[in-house]
């Protein structure tokens, strides 16, 4: 038997790890990894909350419809990371670095 609570706590901890990357890291690649981890955490939370509760615990199931929302989130997250990585490469060509503090402007 699984409780929703455990999946939600997993999602919160993963979200925290991703947030740590955004707040504490200066390497842009690691920041993007953090964003990816946060997106996965949100998807897990979606899955945890998208359950159809039955009369007995055995009847409760993960609804397929609830898995469609993470699917959209996944697609948007994928686009975000693709654009982010493109910006990293473009910035690297100009500054020869991946430090977020040096990325004060994108215009060169």
């Amino acid at each position: 038997m699984i409780e929703q609570l455990h999946l939600l706590i997993l999602a919160i901890i993963l979200f925290g790890v991703g947030l740590y990357a955004i707040l504490g890291k200066r390497n842009v690649i690691k920041i993007l990894m953090g964003i990816e981890i946060m997106t996965i955490a949100v998807n897990v939370a979606f899955i945890a909350l998208g359950t159809e509760l039955g009369a007995t615990p055995a009847d409760s199931i993960f609804v397929k419809f609830a898995q469609i929302f993470p699917l959209i989130s996944l697609a948007v997250g994928a686009a975000v990371i693709a654009v982010g990585l493109a910006i990293v490469i473009n910035n690297y060509r100009h500054t020869k670095g991946v430090d977020s503090d040096e990325m004060s402007t994108l215009k060169r």
Partner: protein, 168 residues
Amino acid sequence: MSLVASYILMILAIVAAIFALESKNLMVSVISLIAMNFFVWGVLLTYGALLIAWIQLIVYGGGFTALFIVVVALTEKQKDETFELWRTILAVVAVVVIVGLLIFAVTQSGITNIVGTVSEPSEIFSLLWEERTTDVILQGVIFFVASVAIGTLFLQHNRKKAKEEIKA
């Protein structure tokens, strides 16, 4: 047994995520990210969320890690040399406070819903076959191989260019 396995997978996913961010070598970070995606895939699979488990593995575990590898190889910054103690301490404090508050809120909200039984591996494979998810998996494999192949070609092209420049 599967319940214990799913809890172990959860812990491993968190550890892999932390290792991905804390590793100095960026290639090791990317490999840890792949490991994290595999562990999350395992968690979702044992809970019976088959569709999102496979698509998550295909998109994030496959295609995007390949992209990350290409970017790390292209930027030639294999080591993460950016570290600031005060920033890390501030980030850890902020994250601990936020995560603590969220976990407190969730545990106090009174959610005690039991979702259902954990799927056994044999059930998962029969479900995969019945729902033709195998097609999606094969597409994912093709996508992953294509991403790696394009990345390799790109790298080879760059190396050739660099060699030609040196010769010139």
